[in-house]
Amino acid sequence: MTRQARLVLGLLVGLAGGCGKPAQPVVKIGFVAPLTGDQAPHGEDMLNGARLAVDHAIARGDVIPGQRLELVALDDQRSPTQAVAAAKKLAADPDVVAVVGHLNSSCTMPASAIYHQARMLQITPVSSNPQISRQGFDTFYRTCATDDLQGPAAARFVAQELGAARVFIIDDMTTYGRGLANEFEQALRGLQGTVLGHEGITQGDKDFTPLLTKVKAMRPDAVYFAGMFPEGALLIKQRADVGLGGRFMGGDGLFDPVLIELATPQASEGVYLTTIGSDVHRMPTAEAFVKAYEARFGPLGAYSAYAYEATSLAIWAIRQAGKKDRAAVLAAMKALTDYPGLFGLQNFDERGDSRIRDIGLFTVQGGAFVFVKSIGE
């Protein structure tokens, strides 16, 4: 190795190791979401929610007497492999007693096995694939509604209230999108709806006009899309460009104001979407949170409230346990009843799924999301 190369390596190692350890004992909460890559904006929204929860908790005094509460934020780049690496990193750190994460169901799934083995409380704010909680891990909790609620609720709305009989389904070929789309399709078939087709698109792709032109020729009453907002916005805009009529409905991945900005307010007028919970802006229990969040970080992201809720729950469990001990924190969480959360009184079923099973229905009106009603169970 040349001297320069050695210098570069040394510098890097120094940089990586340079973050010195503070003297005061710390208790840590792990946080994992994509912080780089194409879904970094969602991860950032979640991280802001988690940060706010930690700061609120610190303002209320030490969570464990004499120990400083710290949030360790890791990046999983929405890659399952990276998610497992991050999970192992947290599991190996004895100061970490609970984890908030991940965002993507495909990441939460393999990572949950690591947390389970480490006997560490994991609360996912938003991974809504129902399979995750069916693995039977007692360390797993989830603060949002699952896709086997969201898909059928959307299908009921499309078939019964919009009166759409012929529907074309599109998903983004991810664990989340395909899972939600399948739930929707199954429920719609059960309601005697006609599924004209079900096709996947690639995340990061931009040109959906060929698919939409094809769909246009089938004259569907509605198009259902399960995926995230960047692709959703392009679908909505290009749908207007190719002159595809009928309704457009999507899942919670679309619930981001950027969707309307990208798709233009005109093209997105009248688009419907469901969310994995009620409208946080309308919850009196969440008023203080929304105010504090928007004062500090700007407009509320789609998943910020869930991340705040999950982090607050983890902190609550640590406070109850009163010591830096994973088993005690987990035991405290299991004993939780009627936690006063953002969406009302929070309770969990035997799988760790929240008993608040609201599905919110929103529509776009005049360039903004407008809450229509709750269409959950």
Partner: protein, 322 residues
């Protein structure tokens, strides 16, 4: 004592000196990269065939073991051999049509294969679970006298040892191969294919052999990866992975067996070392790649044995009809 034995002993001592599960896991990941780099080195380094779809064979190995395990209950030790064999066979089968093209055209054909395989795994939902991938793949187990059956589970140490042993065995095999008749024939093809063919080397067979060997090593790595993760999804095997492995081989030094391992350790652990830099880490990662190539164009352990073919100043009409 040769440096190999020192390195092997040091590698085996790591878990005793530092039992931190996270550190071991990062090293295990880097070890899997090392296996891939060793395999790709056979194709790109030894034989001089630029391959940009190498992740496909990693994927084929992983899915082969996963499907054998899930449908036939095949345990890891019995599944790893067929997984490597299936991937090796895929390397040969995909290699036959690719024989018609050369150089950078070969690069894009292999890139195409890589993408086709990944998208096929995403779309063939019935067999591969589609984007959800395959879940519940069995971890390896080991029968230890007096302690009974030991399941590797999600622990870090056993995988670390498994990968270290596999890397050592593969590296030994690669070294022996490169010094054998076959290895010398590969080198001849790399340096001048026409001359090699003229001196009686069956270039067709030997190029296929190189692709088969490289793919089989990737398949082996894939089976270990699937057994370690317990779940596999198609997006673990994207084009970026192929590119990263290639970067490891070149960074370590084309054609150098220890180089492939060093390159994989460097690029495999660097993102973790840079984790503290949060959103700056991939920026720095790119910058380090550029710098390393600038400071050490022949690779960290490059022998300079490979004939330099500069970008310009090549003799006219170097290109022969394919």
């Amino acid at each position: 004592m040769s440096p190999w034995w020192v390195a092997a002993a040091a590698a085996l001592l790591v878990p005793i000196v530092n039992p931190n599960a996270y550190h071991l896991d990062v090293l295990t990941g880097a070890g899997l990269y090392a296996l891939l780099a060793l395999g790709l080195n056979v194709v790109v380094g030894f034989t001089g065939l630029l391959h940009l779809g190498y992740a496909a064979f990693f994927a084929i190995g992983a899915y082969a073991y996963a499907l054998l395990n899930l449908h036939a209950g095949c345990p890891f030790w019995a599944g790893v051999i067929p997984a490597a064999a299936v991937a090796g066979a895929a390397g040969v089968v995909l290699g036959i049509p690719a024989m018609r093209v050369r150089g950078d055209y070969l690069a894009i054909v292999t890139l195409g294969f890589g993408e086709i395989v990944r998208i096929a795994f995403t779309n063939l939902e019935r067999w591969t679970g589609g984007p959800n991938g395959l879940l519940g793949i069995a971890h390896p187990t080991l029968w230890i006298p007096a302690r009974g059956l030991y399941d590797f589970g999600v622990a870090s140490q056993p995988y670390y040892y498994l990968v270290v042993v596999m890397v050592m065995l593969t590296a030994m095999a690669c070294l022996r191969m490169s010094r054998s008749r076959v290895g010398r024939a590969w080198a001849a093809i790399r340096e001048d294919e026409l001359a090699a063919a003229c001196s009686g080397i069956d270039t067709f067979q030997l190029k296929l052999l190189a692709q088969g060997c490289g793919a089989a090593i990737a398949g082996l790595a894939g089976a270990i990866f699937a057994a370690k993760q317990g779940t596999i999804t198609p997006d673990s095997f994207d084009f970026i992975l192929s590119v990263m492995v290639l970067a490891m081989v070149v960074l370590g030094g084309l054609g150098s067996v220890p180089g492939a391992i060093v390159g994989a350790l460097a690029l495999g652990t660097l993102p973790e070392l840079l984790r503290g830099l949060a959103q700056y880490r991939m920026l720095l990662f790119g910058a380090v790649m550029i710098l390393m190539m600038r400071l050490r164009p022949q690779g960290l352990l490059g022998t300079g044995q490979i004939r330099r073919e500069p970008l310009t100043d090549r003799p006219p009409h170097d290109a022969r009809p394919a």
